[in-house]
Amino acid sequence: MVSRVPETVNAVAFGVLAACIVGGAVMVMVTRNVVHASFWLLEVLIATAGLYLVLSAEFLALVQIMVYAGAVSVLLLFVVMLTLRRREDAVRSRDASALVAALAVAFGGMLVGVLYGFPVPIVAMPEAAPGVAEIGRALFTRWVLPFEIASGILLVALVGAVWWAGAGGGDEL
């Protein structure tokens, strides 16, 4: 089932996923409940995995689901629940700020302005999208040094997180 990679993406699939992503991100901002916000964040991350599928990056979509939907959102919910003393503490003020909104709109407008005129190079699409086998091969040949550094980073982060969250970081004042 070798199919030629199209040079564009189905607009309907993109539109639905983009609406889920932007809508979910806005809901993270406007919802007043921290627990609801983390579930909206989970929705955004899963919709992003769908976007990776549309972009024929199957491996990344799977990693996104496992790392973000599986690990990060559970971690977020754990910390939300550990740092709330009462159930009512989950509901917060909205923390709206006109100055920051203006800054974010200005920055986003600048990004859009720069990227809109981005000259996309015309490249020949391959006959078939490279699969997981090609990704694995490249990861352990061309990208092997960053790969090993990444495992070092993860190890250091693991030890640091255990130390901070455990005995070392929480000395009472």
């Binding site: 564009t8 932007v22 917060r92 640091g160 969250a165």
Partner: protein, 103 residues
Amino acid sequence: MTVGLEAFLMLGAVLFAVGLYGALSKKSAVMVLMSLELMANAVNITLVSTSRFVTPVTMDGQFFAIFSLVVSAAEIGLGLALVLALYRRTRTIELDRIDELRG
């Protein structure tokens, strides 16, 4: 109906701006970390879509995205551990109530 790379870049820019708003305006440390995740996600979308349309054979952007995913997973783990340590020290995660260094 089809869309090209520009639509993905626009989506990344909008998502990044939303995350930036949250990272600067939210007063709960956990909400700030969530906003940082949104911004990292916007960058990853940009990387993967550029990879798909500009380097479809070598997939450079996808590898960048994999490593950026590793770094942001480490960041969220360390960040949440810091939030927990902060909570045990000060009994709060409200960023505007953590002002011990204010002169």
